[in-house]
Structure formats: structure tokens, C-alpha cells
Symmetry: C2
Subunit: 327 residues, 2 copies
């Protein structure tokens, strides 16, 4: 048995654990040419593939446990943005060597993440080469109920979940020795939490959704482009954590909330009357969201500033995307 | 728009073309956080993910069109081994730079391959880093009808499709300047053809199947292990192409047929009475297959030689796998 066959033992073992309500949808998991899977009746399948590359998405020497959580968090966040229930994941792992001191903490953390999200590892491919990790996640959503980017209408409120800019704050703590490390901010960077439950609940209220991976402005622009509309955002309304506010000046915190990326919160558009219903009927959901702007008929993305309304590009946000995904 | 956003244009364009009988199963293709897909009623979903890494699976400077064909061929071959009908593919592409002279021939060949296999590109992720390509293929098979590795029974005939060893012959032509290049052998290496139609037809005749990616002995051993049986193979029965026989001596050709890998033919086990029916009712299928051995109750893999029956390991085939997949 070669050393890469040994690697497969780690993942075959993980694949034996069943997670979540969809565990019985795995007919044949790891161990054949393909996995054989069953999509429940009345459900659509939603899928997304994401890659993390050493030197591009993380620095050499990053804790493998943190990589496992980031890979899963970033991938499952795409399911959350569709309002989908996570079901399965496949993993394509490229490693320079079969290093057990890397594989043990990675697979242990991956196992924890699979259990946390209720997602089953059903297949993979392990190859030798420069360190890189691709995950494809699969989830279910009732037919016709997926939250698409294309449903936003003029007049809708723009909402975001949680707080924004924390992940970038954590990254700054890592990159700059003169910034005091903050466990909360570091955790938001290393271990993003996909908003799975919120996404599923928002299927009945939102007109469109995207997860905030490239930064709020970039991801909101994806919604606006797909929907053929524009929006105006008030930066003073951005939800900023007390930890981010305590560590960085107000302008910096706002800039990261607008464009920092990798928060893996949700950006949603909600018709005003639905927002009203949401606040009345589901106050615990409403409490997870902050209204930060409104959808307009005029294409483009604008910011409300002390000097009036200016285009986001004119305000210096013309390079939104740190990376662009084609799914 | 950054340079990697330009890359996505190539694939967004490819994603707009519909291929095969399952084109209408794509509800939302490239352009949202996830693809939204519909698995036809009565069908199971089968999935497999495969990675090609520069320096491990191909040398630097390999023609990108050939990479596209190899990636698709190797991936779709896993669907063929399950008896599945190809439906969708997602692509995770890591590139050192957004080099149009690489991207144009790659995406053109990928488009041809998608059309050839009737498979729809539904998502992807493009990232910067050392050249590497991962594809996840998705297909359909009627509930309960997937060809698994675990179904072989003692007495079954061991069959293989096409001819074996050609891909390794092509690789030798590339690596050794003193071997005359042969277009047929090179094409078998660069542009493997997955046996999709054969796999689907063999659902009704075969007890088990695997595709020959790691070499016949390694992949047959996967079937035997999963089924809890053994087999005896007669190397004199191995199907060897006239081109391979013309270019290499008999012993070399046989060795590559047994262990060369990347042929992407199918290895199947068929009960003798089903083989009889197959020959009578579907002679055109039988003509694509060669019986090379028989399944035994005794675990392990044996070869019939002039000196009698010896274990494959004793005959020098103890390192079967050039690479091991965990799905």
C-alpha cells in the first residue's frame, strides 16, 4: 500500500459517520468509482465547488484544522445563500506529501465540521502536488424555492446577517504584528460559520440572496446585476461588532465591512411588506438581520455619505472582488 | 474587472450550451452561489471528483486541449463504471496566471468534450496557484441499478472492454525519444474515451464493474476486495492492440496491459449464463468485451503462466496502484 493509500484511510473513516437528517440519502459512499446518492422527492439539488490554494488563500504553515473549518464554512455558505439544507460533500485534496502530522488535525477538524453542519463526506480524490483543497457541497431545496440572486426588485430592503468586517479584522491581526490579536476576530477569520438555518428560514421572506465572500459591495453587486436593478447603501447602518470597533478606527471598520470579504454572512433583499411580517412573526430571525439600504431602479451601487449619495466606485470601491467565482 | 473575472467569461459561455438528453435538468447553471439541478424521478445521482496536477499527472507544457480531454475522459469513465448516464460537471481550475493562450484551446476542447459526452457545465471556481484541474462529474442511474464493485461472485467471468496498455504505450512514446511516436497510442494517452454507452448497457448483464484507471490488476483487485472474492487471469487472453503489439515486444505489451493504467476501459464481472445471453442477444456488446479470467472463492489475484498459476504479487505485480482514489 503506498503512502497515499494511507491518506485515504483517514477519509474512508470519516465517510463512515452519518450526519444530519439526510444521512439515509447515501446509498453508496466512499469506496466505489462513484458515490450513489438519492435526492428526496420534491427537492432540487444545489451544488457549489470551492478551492483554497496555499499562497493565494492562506499562508504556508496555516493550521490544518483551521483550513478544514474555512473550507467547509466557505463552501456551506454557498448552500446557505440558496436557502438549502446541506447534505453531502466531496473533497479533492492535493498534498506535497502524506504527512500524518498534517492529516491528523485536518481530518479531526473536518469530522467536527461535518457533524456541525450535518453534512456527509461521500467521495474524494487525494493527489500529490502543491497544497490545495477543493470541496464540492451538495444540498437540497424544495422545487422552485431556491433563493436566487436574480429576484431583487426596486423598493426591496437590503439586509445583512451578523456583523461585517470581522474576518478582515482577524486577517489584519495575523498580518500586522503591531495589532493586538483578538480571539473573536481571529476566530471569525479562521472559522467562519455558514448561516445555514437563517438561509432556509429566509426562503419565505427574501426575494434574492448571496453570501458575503468577496465583500458586501461585490456580492450585493452580484445580486443587482443578476436582478437588473441598483441599490443605495447607508454605511452608517452597517453592523459592526464591538470587537472590530474596539480594535480599529471607525473609517477602517466601515471600509472592511463594505469590502473586506470572507465574512460568510448573508446579503438578502426583502420586500418592505415582507420585512414587516418578518419582524412581527419571526422576531428572532429579524434580530439576526440589519437593514442597510434599499434597492433602486437605477443600475449601480451608491453610498449615502455626509456629502450626499455617491457611487461606490467614486467612493473608492471600484475594485470590489478579491477573487471571482463562476458559480 | 480583474483578470480572473475574465477567465470566468470562458466558462460562463461554455455553461450556456446545453448538451445531451439531460439539458433540461439544469434549473440554474453558472451565475449564482450554487447551481440548482433536478434529478429525474426514479433515478439515483452518482458523483465522482478527480484531480490532475501538473508535475504529478502531466508534465509542464502539456497541450491544454489534451488536458481538457483527459480530465473529462478520466472523470466520465467513473460514471461509465457505474452504468450511469452523464449529466453535469463542475470544474475547479487553479492557474498560475490568466493566460489567454492557454485558456482558449482549453475551453475550446472542453466545449467539444462536453458535447461529445452530452454533459453540461453547471459551475466552477477559478483560482490562482500552481496548475491543477479538478472536475466533479454527476450522472443518473435508475434506483438500485448502479454497477457496484461489490457484486462479483465466484464463477463469474472477468471481462474487459477494448484493448489494454495503449495509454502506457503512448506515454512511453512521449518519454523515450528512441521510440517512434505512434498517433494511435498517443491519442489513447491524451484523449481517453470513457465507455459510457457500454457501461449503461452492461447494467443488465454484469455483477460488478470498475474502470481501469490504476491498471487492470489494481482495479480488478478493487472489485475482488469489495466483493470478498479472488480471481485468476490468463495474460495470454489480454486484448492488445495491433499498434501496441507492433511497437513493443510481447512481454512488455502484456505487462502494460496488466498494470499500465489510464486506459479508461471497463473491467466487469459477468455470470456465465448472462455471458451466454449477452453473446446471443447483444453480439455487438459482446464484441466490445474480452473474457480474460474467472472469479474464484479464494481471495487474491492469480495469473496463469507457463509455470502454472502464480499470485500476481509473486509475478512481480505487488505495486499495482500508481495512484489511489478514495472514491
Amino acid at each position: 500500500m503506498d503512502e497515499f493509500a494511507l491518506i485515504n484511510r483517514f477519509f474512508t473513516s470519516l465517510g463512515r459517520h452519518s450526519h444530519g437528517s439526510q444521512a439515509d440519502t447515501v446509498i453508496q459512499g466512499i469506496g466505489d468509482d462513484c458515490a450513489v446518492l438519492s435526492v428526496p422527492s420534491g427537492q432540487s439539488l444545489v451544488v457549489s465547488i470551492d478551492t483554497l490554494v496555499e499562497g493565494t488563500h492562506f499562508v504556508a504553515g496555516t493550521d490544518p484544522a483551521q483550513l478544514a473549518w474555512r473550507l467547509l464554512g466557505a463552501s456551506v455558505s454557498d448552500l446557505a445563500a440558496m436557502g438549502a439544507e446541506p447534505a453531502w460533500v466531496t473533497l479533492a485534496l492535493t498534498l506535497p506529501a502524506a504527512d500524518e502530522s498534517w492529516l491528523k488535525p485536518f481530518s479531526a477538524a473536518l469530522g467536527e465540521g461535518l457533524a456541525y453542519y450535518g453534512i456527509n463526506l461521500v467521495g474524494g480524490d487525494t493527489t500529490r502536488g502543491p497544497l490545495s483543497l477543493s470541496a464540492q457541497v451538495h444540498g437540497f431545496v424544495p422545487h422552485g424555492a431556491a433563493l436566487l440572486r436574480s429576484g431583487a426588485r426596486a423598493g426591496d430592503l437590503v439586509c445583512v446577517s451578523g456583523t461585517l468586517g470581522d474576518s478582515r479584522g482577524g486577517l489584519e491581526c495575523i498580518l500586522n504584528a503591531d495589532i493586538a490579536a483578538n480571539d473573536y476576530l481571529l476566530d471569525r477569520f479562521y472559522r467562519p460559520t455558514a448561516r445555514v438555518s437563517l438561509g432556509q428560514h429566509m426562503r419565505r421572506y427574501a426575494t434574492a440572496a448571496a453570501d458575503i465572500s468577496d465583500g458586501l459591495l461585490a456580492d450585493l453587486q452580484h445580486i443587482l446585476t443578476a436582478s437588473g436593478v441598483g441599490a443605495t447603501v447607508n454605511p452608517d447602518l452597517l453592523p459592526i461588532s464591538t470587537q472590530l470597533a474596539a480594535h480599529f478606527d471607525n473609517e477602517t471598520a466601515k471600509r472592511w465591512a463594505l469590502s473586506g470579504g470572507e465574512d460568510f454572512e448573508l446579503c438578502l433583499t426583502v420586500a418592505p411588506e415582507c420585512w414587516q411580517v418578518l419582524c412581527e412573526k419571526a422576531p428572532s430571525l429579524a434580530a439576526q438581520l440589519t437593514v442597510i439600504g434599499v434597492v433602486d431602479t437605477e443600475p449601480g451601487l451608491r453610498l449615502q455619505t455626509a456629502e450626499g449619495t455617491v457611487s461606490a466606485a467614486a467612493a473608492g470601491f471600484n475594485h470590489f472582488a478579491s477573487e471571482t467565482r463562476n458559480s
